[in-house]
């Protein structure tokens, strides 16, 4: 029997009209590959089947049956290959999809973390700003206190000077009041007498030298 492989030009049949059959098969294959002019394709196929039928003296329906079976097998194989490829692709797609989901989750997590960090940093910044304001206030208060302190120091210095003056005045007034006492008068007289005696002594010393 004729064995039609995946490509029509390979025919194992060896008869008198092999050249014609091959020519028709080649032409048909070209048309099928180009996928154009279905009418012409059908006509060529009919011619080919007629020629094979005639050559092999077999009924056309049988040739059709074999060709269809063969074609079915060929396309079934192709379908199977495509199915396998599709399955692989599906698996890859699913893997990629899961990876995408995983990455999406990770990105979401990162975004959330980033948001948290940003919020935290904002909070810290606000705290720092608040502390800065507090420090500024404290600094201003310190300046005020320092100013007041310098004023108080000045007042204190003035008060101290005033106190010293009063103390001095008190001391002098007390001394003045002491001058009136008899004890003071006696002491003064004694000292004057001593001074006179001293001067006499020194005069004697000097004049004797």
């Amino acid at each position: 029997m004729i064995k039609l492989a995946v490509s029509f030009p390979i025919l194992e049949y060896k008869g008198s009209n092999v050249a014609d059959i091959n020519k028709l098969a080649t032409s048909l294959t070209t048309l099928m590959r180009k996928k154009i002019n279905r009418f012409k394709m059908k006509k060529r196929l009919d011619s080919l089947i007629s020629l094979i039928s005639k050559e092999t003296k077999t009924d056309k329906s049988i040739i059709y049956h074999f060709i269809i079976t063969d074609l079915k097998g060929i396309y079934q194989d192709k379908i199977d290959i495509h199915k396998t490829k599709l399955k692989t692709l599906k698996n890859e797609f699913e893997q990629l999809n899961s990876l995408e989901k995983k990455y999406a989750n990770e990105i979401t997590q990162l975004v959330n973390d980033n948001e948290k960090i940003r919020n935290e940093s904002n909070r810290k910044l606000n705290e720092i700003e608040s502390k800065k304001n507090e420090l500024t206030n404290i600094n201003e208060k310190l300046k005020e206190i320092s100013q007041k302190l310098s004023e108080v120091k000045k007042e204190n210095e003035l008060a101290e000077k005033d106190y010293k003056k009063k103390e001095y005045d008190f001391m002098m007034s007390k001394h003045k009041s002491q001058k009136k006492t008899s004890k003071y008068k006696f002491n003064s007289l004694f000292l004057i007498a001593c001074t006179i005696i001293g001067i006499i002594i020194v005069l004697i010393i000097i004049l004797n030298k």
Binding site: K165, F186, N187, F190, C194, I197, V202, I205, I206
Partner: protein, 129 residues
Amino acid sequence: MNRSLLIILLGVVTIWDTVTTVYGTYTIFGEGTIQLVVSIGFALLLAGFLIRTIPIIKNPSEELIPVGTKVLWFLAILYDLFTSFTGNMDLILGNATGTQKVVLAIGLTLFVCSAPIGLSKLFFDPDSE
């Protein structure tokens, strides 16, 4: 110690300080009646300055005269230390010799020169009572 007795004691030492000042000044000025009179006058002035030590030092005024008086007081004490040292060396420690004489003279000088300041304290400072 009795305050009056202390005044008398310090007064006597102050007089001796004045005597040494007269002697020291006269030694510097040279012989002559005028020099002697000036020496006595200068010594009395210096004694007056030193007896008024407390009012001079404690005066809180920052005007020219009180501040100038403080400067003069400082010069007076330096001059007094010098004349007291010379006077004590010549009049008291005439027979002593060497380092002993100098040490004794320094001790006597410090003792004698502090007497008018102590007297001033007793006279003027009410806290001394």
